[in-house]
C-alpha cells in the first residue's frame, strides 16, 4: 500500500526529503513505516495520521498521510 510521508522543519534536512510516497506491505504499523525514514530514534516526535494523533502500534491504511514533526513548542 502507498503511504504519503510528510516531514516537518529540520526533519526534512535530516532525512533528505520533504514529502514522498512510500510503499509498505498491507497491515504495516506506524513503527514499520518509521523504520524506513532515517530519523534518529532519540529525537522526540509528534506523529499524526490524516491530521490526527497516532497511537503506538496503530495499523496504517492505503492512502494515509503521515506527518512526522519535531516536538514544536510554539516559539
Amino acid at each position: 500500500m502507498k503511504i504519503t510521508v510528510k516531514l516537518i522543519g529540520p526533519f526534512i534536512y535530516a532525512a533528505a526529503f520533504s514529502e514522498k510516497e512510500i510503499n509498505i506491505p498491507e497491515g504495516s504499523t506506524i513503527e514499520s513505516l518509521l523504520s524506513l525514514v532515517k530519523l534518529a530514534e532519540s529525537r522526540p516526535k509528534v506523529i499524526t495520521r490524516n491530521g490526527k494523533a497516532i497511537a503506538p502500534g496503530e495499523t496504517l491504511e492505503d492512502g494515509d498521510r503521515v506527518v512526522i514533526s519535531p516536538l514544536y513548542s510554539g516559539g
Partner: protein, 612 residues
C-alpha cells in the same frame, strides 16, 4: 546584594528630572526583575482608571538578574505599562542591547513618567541623563530612526524606538530595536508615543554585579557554545519558528481567512521550507547562538525579517500565500512600528467584516496591495477607516456592530496569536487566561494536546499543563529576563537557570522557589485587572465566540464538524481556577494572596471589589 544593581532610574519627561532610586534585597527576592518589577511598580504607582495614553501612565523598561550577562540568551528587555489595547496590565519583551547597556549604566529598571513638550530622545550614559530633541525623526519609520541614532552614537549603544504607529497612538504599536526585533504588542509603542518619547538610547560602562563573575563567565560562554552546537545538531534554526507552519496546516491549527479555516492547500507556498530557500541573511538578538531571524527580499526588494507569527497572521490569515508579498507587509509593520500579529488580525477582521456587510469598504482577503495601503492609513490614523482600525479588533467591532464582535479575534482586547484553536481546548484556555490578552508567549500546549492527551479532552491535565508552562514561559523567562528558546526549542535543561541565577546572585534557589515568584506575579497582575475592571468575571477569560460557533466548523479535514463546547470550556476554566487558587470569577482568593505574600495588595484590591 549581588546579582542586582539595586538601582532604578526614574525619569520625568514633564519636568526633565532624573533620579536614581535604590531598592533592597527584599524587593529583589520577591519580584526578581523584568515582569515582576514592572507589575509591582505599576501596581504601586498607577491610579486605577488612568488613561493609558495620558501622562499619568508610566513606561517601564525592566531587566533581570542575568539580563545582559553573556549566557544563553540574555539580550532581552521587558517593556511595560498600562495597556492601551486592553486597559489592563501590559508588557512585552524584545531583543535589544539595552539589556546589557542599562545594566552597565547601573540600573535594573527605567521608569519613564510624564510627557515631553516636544519629540524627545532620552539619552542615558551611566549617571548622565539627557533630554534631546528628536523632531528630525518624528514622523519617520523605525529603520530610518535607528540609522539616525546609530549615525550619532555608533552601533554599540542600546536603542528602543517607535515608528509612526507609536507616534499616532495606534493601540497595538510596538517598541522596536534593530538589535533584536519588536516587543510590547500590548501597545507599549503607543505609550512611548503618548509621551512624545521617540527613542531611548543607553550606554553603560560599569561592571554588572555578580556573585561569581569568573564562574558566570565560564558557564555563560561554555553554554552559549553548547546551545549553538545543539542547534546545529538538531537543525532547528534552518527554519526556526517557521517550521511549525506546515505542521499547523496538517493538524488544522493554522489561522486562515480570519481564523475561519484551519488549513489551506496553498499554505506550503509560505512555509519554513520555502522561507529557508529564499533566505538572504540570518539575525539574532544579543547573546544568542541559535539565531531565529530569517530575512528575505520582499516584493519591493527590501530586506524583511520573518518568523512564524508574522507569516501566519499576515499571510494565510489574510489568504496571502506569496512570501515576498507577506515580507512586504511585515516590512511595513516593522517600519511603522505596528505589531505584526495584531496588524494581521485587524486586517483579517476587517476583510471578514466587509465580507459580512458589517463594515464599509471593498477590502478583500488576498489583496496584498490594499493591505499595504491600509497599514499606511492605520499608522497615520488616516481617514475614518484608518482611525477605526488603529483602535484594534475589539473597538473596531464595537464601531462596526452587526455582531462583528463575535469574529473579532481577540481576548481582553489583545488580538490572537497565530494558532487556530477552533478545536484545541487547552490552547484556547492558554489564550483565555493569558495575563495580557491572547498572546502565545505565556503558554503553548498544542503538541501536548495532540501527543500526550486527547485533542477533545477538557480535563484538568490541560489546565495543569497551561499553569506549568505559564510558570516557566510567562514567569521565569519574563522576570529573569532571558529568551525561552534554548529551553523550549532545543531542550536546554531548565535547571541551568537556577545555576545562572546562583552565579549572578549567590542565592541557591530551586525551581519551586521560582514557581512561587511566578504565581505571585500572575496573581498581582490579576489584581491589577480587578482594580481596573471591578466587575470582572470569568467571561473575560473566554476565547473569541466564533470558536464556539457550529456554523464555523470545518467542513472537511481532521476536525470537520467540530468546534469548542461552551460548557466544557467553562469546566476547563474552572479546573484552571481551582488549581490556581482563584475564585469563580477568576480572582485569587484571600488565602491564595496570603500564601503568595500578597496580603497587602489584597487589602488594596478589596477596596475595589470583594475577595473570596
Amino acid at each position: 546584594m549581588l546579582g542586582w544593581t539595586g538601582h532604578m532610574l526614574r525619569v520625568n519627561l514633564s519636568s526633565r528630572a532624573a533620579e536614581t532610586e535604590t531598592y533592597g534585597e527584599e524587593f529583589a527576592k520577591k519580584w526578581v526583575g523584568g515582569r515582576g518589577f514592572a507589575a509591582k511598580i505599576l501596581w504601586d504607582e498607577l491610579k486605577p482608571g488612568i488613561d493609558p495614553l495620558g501622562p499619568e501612565n508610566k513606561f517601564i523598561v525592566a531587566l533581570g538578574p542575568i539580563a545582559g550577562i553573556p549566557a544563553p540568551n540574555t539580550g532581552k528587555a521587558v517593556v511595560a505599562g498600562k495597556s492601551p489595547s486592553t486597559g489592563g496590565y501590559g508588557d512585552g519583551n524584545l531583543g535589544t542591547r539595552v539589556a546589557e547597556q542599562l545594566r552597565r549604566a547601573g540600573y535594573d529598571a527605567l521608569i519613564v513618567e510624564g510627557k515631553a513638550d516636544r519629540p524627545t530622545l532620552l539619552y542615558i550614559e551611566d549617571d548622565r541623563v539627557e533630554f534631546l530633541p528628536a523632531d528630525e525623526v518624528w514622523g519617520k519609520g523605525t529603520y530610518e530612526t535607528n540609522d539616525w541614532i546609530y549615525a550619532k552614537y555608533g552601533k554599540s549603544v542600546g536603542v528602543l524606538n517607535i515608528g509612526q504607529a507609536g507616534e499616532n497612538l495606534v493601540r497595538y504599536a510596538v517598541v522596536r530595536s534593530l538589535e533584536g526585533r519588536a516587543g510590547g504588542r500590548t501597545g507599549m509603542g503607543a505609550v512611548m508615543g503618548s509621551k512624545l518619547l521617540k527613542a531611548i538610547v543607553v550606554k553603560g560602562t560599569k561592571a554588572i554585579p555578580q556573585a561569581d563573575p569568573a564562574g558566570m563567565k565560564k558557564a555563560g560562554y561554555d553554554d552559549l557554545r553548547r546551545v549553538h552546537q545543539i542547534d546545529k545538531e538538531t537543525g532547528w534554526s534552518i527554519q526556526s519558528t517557521t517550521g511549525v507552519l506546515a505542521w499547523c496546516n496538517e493538524v488544522a491549527a493554522l489561522p486562515v481567512r480570519n481564523f475561519r479555516k484551519t488549513h489551506h492547500p496553498d499554505a506550503w507556498k509560505c512555509d519554513g521550507e520555502r522561507l529557508n530557500n529564499a533566505r538572504i541573511a540570518t539575525y539574532g538578538c544579543p547573546n544568542c547562538t541559535m539565531r531565529c531571524g530569517i530575512t528575505i527580499h520582499d516584493d519591493e526588494g527590501r530586506e524583511s525579517e520573518l518568523d512564524y507569527e508574522n507569516i501566519g497572521l499576515l499571510g494565510p490569515n489574510l489568504e496571502i500565500f506569496d512570501l515576498p508579498e507577506i515580507g512586504s507587509l511585515n516590512y511595513l509593520c516593522d517600519d511603522y512600528g505596528i505589531d505584526t500579529m495584531s496588524g494581521g488580525c485587524v486586517l483579517s477582521f476587517y476583510a471578514d467584516a466587509v465580507d459580512h456587510g458589517a463594515a464599509p469598504g471593498d477590502f478583500r482577503f488576498g489583496d496584498a496591495a490594499a493591505a499595504k495601503v491600509l497599514f499606511a492609513k492605520i499608522a497615520r490614523r488616516e481617514g475614518e477607516i484608518g482611525n477605526i482600525l488603529a483602535e484594534g479588533c475589539l473597538r473596531a467591532a464595537r464601531t462596526f456592530g452587526h455582531g462583528s464582535e463575535d469574529y473579532a479575534m481577540q481576548v481582553k482586547g489583545l488580538e490572537v496569536a497565530a494558532y487556530n484553536c477552533k478545536f484545541i481546548p487547552g490552547m484556547a484556555l492558554a489564550f483565555g487566561v493569558s495575563p495580557i490578552g491572547a498572546h502565545h508567549k505565556e503558554s503553548w500546549v498544542i503538541t501536548f494536546e495532540l501527543k500526550q492527551t486527547s485533542r477533545d479532552s477538557y480535563g484538568p491535565e490541560k489546565a495543569r499543563k497551561v499553569i506549568d508552562l505559564q510558570r516557566i514561559r510567562g514567569g521565569l523567562f519574563e522576570y529573569i529576563v532571558s529568551c525561552r528558546f534554548p529551553w523550549i526549542e532545543l531542550g536546554w535543561d531548565l535547571e541551568n537557570y537556577p545555576k545562572y541565577f546562583k552565579l549572578a546572585s549567590g542565592l541557591d534557589w530551586t525551581l519551586d522557589d521560582f514557581w512561587t515568584v511566578s504565581d505571585r506575579i500572575y496573581s498581582l497582575i490579576k489584581l491589577f485587572w480587578l482594580r481596573e475592571y471591578p466587575r470582572t468575571n470569568r467571561r473575560v477569560d473566554y476565547p473569541p465566540a466564533v470558536w464556539f460557533d457550529p456554523a464555523n466548523a470545518d467542513t472537511e479535514g481532521p476536525i470537520a464538524g467540530k468546534v469548542l463546547d461552551y460548557d466544557k470550556y467553562d469546566g476547563l476554566l474552572q479546573h484552571y481556577y481551582d488549581l490556581r487558587g482563584y475564585d469563580r470569577r477568576g480572582i485569587p482568593t484571600k488565602a491564595t494572596l496570603e500564601r503568595l505574600g500578597l496580603a497587602e495588595e489584597g487589602k488594596e484590591a478589596e477596596a475595589h471589589s470583594f475577595l473570596a
